[in-house]
Amino acid sequence: MKLLHYTSYRYFLFTALLTLISIPIFYVSLSKVFVGSIDKDLRQQAREIPTYMGAIKSEQDLALWKALDNDLNIVPADSSDFSPKPFTIKKKLPFKDESEDFRVLQKQVDILGKKYIVDIESSLIEKEDLIRTILSIQLGILFLLLSGAVLINYFINRKIWKPFYDCLYSLKQFNIEHALTDEPKELRIQEFEQLNQSIHVLSVRVHQAYFSQKEFIENASHELQTPLTVLKFKLELLLQDRQLTREQGELIADMYREIEQMQELNNNLLLLSKIENGQFVNSETINLVDIIEDVKDELSLLAESKLQHVKVRYKLKDIILPSSNKILLKVLIKNLLLNAIQYSAVEADIWMYAASGYLKVSNPGRPLEIPEEEMFKRFGRNSCSQKGNGLGLSIVKAIAQYNSYNISYEYISGLHNFKLQWN
């Protein structure tokens, strides 16, 4: 849920609840006020009754009065209960189907010496109409207020949170290779100002740490190169000694081999740094077919040692890759094929298929023991029994990224498939 929606939603809920509660309260108090005013009216009429009494001189007058005044109902005192307070009754009118509410006030009077109870009635039908009208007007206003408030709140919030979203956007765009270059904008709201400042400082620090780490790896690898080469040369010279026993020779050969491994690791680290530093130019037009044939040739001894067959199919005679780098592309394809050879059993068939937009390398093998995402990470190798330094696929990934190619992996029916796509 978005922050803006969250606050707007809360706001809407609160106002809706308030409206819902306010309607019955409003209704009850409004009808109380109305009934009160009718009661006041009825009392006023009751007070005026004695003045009419004087005019009644005979039974006929009484009868006439009864007949003429609809709002009055005169009954002898002994035939009805008396209630001193006004009350509400339901009464069916002769010309209407439904019964209606009436407010009644009773008053005891003496007419021509006899006791009577006079019911003074007032219809409440107007009250219902009035309350309904008032309520609907009120509801309308409430609704307008509500929607207005929610909308205003939405827009204000949107404006308030804008720096926050800007900040979020710049964080999403953040690339460790480049520190955030723009100075943080001056903002009215202190908290956002502080947030921006902190992020800026953080990004600069992260970038510096990354940069110095990279520099360190590059320098360390570079500095290691010469001593390793010297060591290797000395061992090669030592091997020429005719006095060497077989055991000594084997020891030296083992050391020699380990130094080779170290040198390869070192070279791979250096290569990774160079790629990440953008020290290669992508400006060559390359025929992929030539590169694949070269790589296949170079690795033929390795495949032969495992009795494997590398089978390559080309969809086209020439597969041209514009603006690429020959060295890097060769390293990429070599590492892919090397990986396939290493992770396939003896006598396996390794397939390469090159089309105009992609290259696929497939080799049989058991499913991965590590998560796929781990595969392209440095030193993220599938099992420890393999030779190599665990940098091969991360170099593949780095080169693919450098050239804006896409490298993907799939395991389908016993085959590991790597797919390199360009364009």
Binding site: Q240, L301, S305
Partner: protein, 222 residues
């Protein structure tokens, strides 16, 4: 044969010199641009090993000067790995070969031999050893004028061992010569063993010219 090594790492230069001196090579070392320039001006070498990164400038400047002077010395450029620009520039400037670090001394000596052969034997592309003849142009091998049918790998192997004759060549160096940097991914050297065995069988009439040095590698000798 006179070789000049222009290399600022004294230990590297000394190792190269020591390795090459076993042959009839006479090696001199220059440790910076100035020294190198002076020696190249004053003497003629059969082959110059030129490092690119030198104190005082790039080794390629020396190569340019050499070519401007119309000198015929063979030049092998030695440089850090994977700098394709260096390789292209070097070859364009007229270097005979380019070797990227790290390399095997055996590989270096094979390259030097090839450069010298190309330059000074004037198209003389045949190598002889007792009854053995290697025609490097046709890539054919003869024993007493009889054609020996070798596979591509066996031919490369024989040539490599032959050029480094008299020296122990590690299986690593052989594997790397035959397969480039991927040699270190070999689980074992059985494949090298198998090829050497086949090669020995085919050269049987020559006697045991390829000797197995147990635990380390092979040596081509009388």
């Amino acid at each position: 044969m006179k070789i000049l090594i222009v290399e600022d790492e004294i230990q590297l230069a000394k190792s190269i010199r020591q390795y090459l001196q076993r042959e009839s090579y006479l090696c001199e070392i220059a440790m910076n641009i100035e020294e190198g320039r002076k020696m190249m001006d004053n003497f003629t070498y059969d082959c110059i090993l030129l490092d690119i990164n030198l104190p005082g400038g790039s080794g390629l400047t020396l190569l340019k000067e050499l070519k401007l002077d119309k000198k015929m010395d063979g030049v092998i450029i030695i440089s850090a790995r994977n700098s394709v620009e260096d390789k292209i520039t070097s070859l364009k400037l007229g270097a005979d070969d380019y070797l990227s670090k790290p390399f095997h001394l055996a590989e270096l000596s094979a390259r030097i031999e090839a450069v010298i052969r190309r330059r000074y034997l004037n198209g003389e592309s045949e190598l002889f050893f007792q009854d053995l003849k290697i025609d490097t142009l046709a890539r054919m091998v003869f024993i007493r004028s009889e054609d020996v049918n070798l596979t591509k790998t066996e031919y490369e192997l024989l040539l490599f061992l032959f050029i480094n004759r008299g020296r122990v060549i590690t299986k690593n160096a052989i594997a790397e010569h035959l397969s480039g940097q991927s040699a270190m991914y070999l689980d074992n050297f059985d494949i090298i063993y198998a090829h050497v065995k086949n090669l020995k069988k085919k050269l049987l009439s020559m006697g045991n010219c390829i000797k197995t040095i147990y635990g380390t590698g092979y040596k081509f000798s009388e």
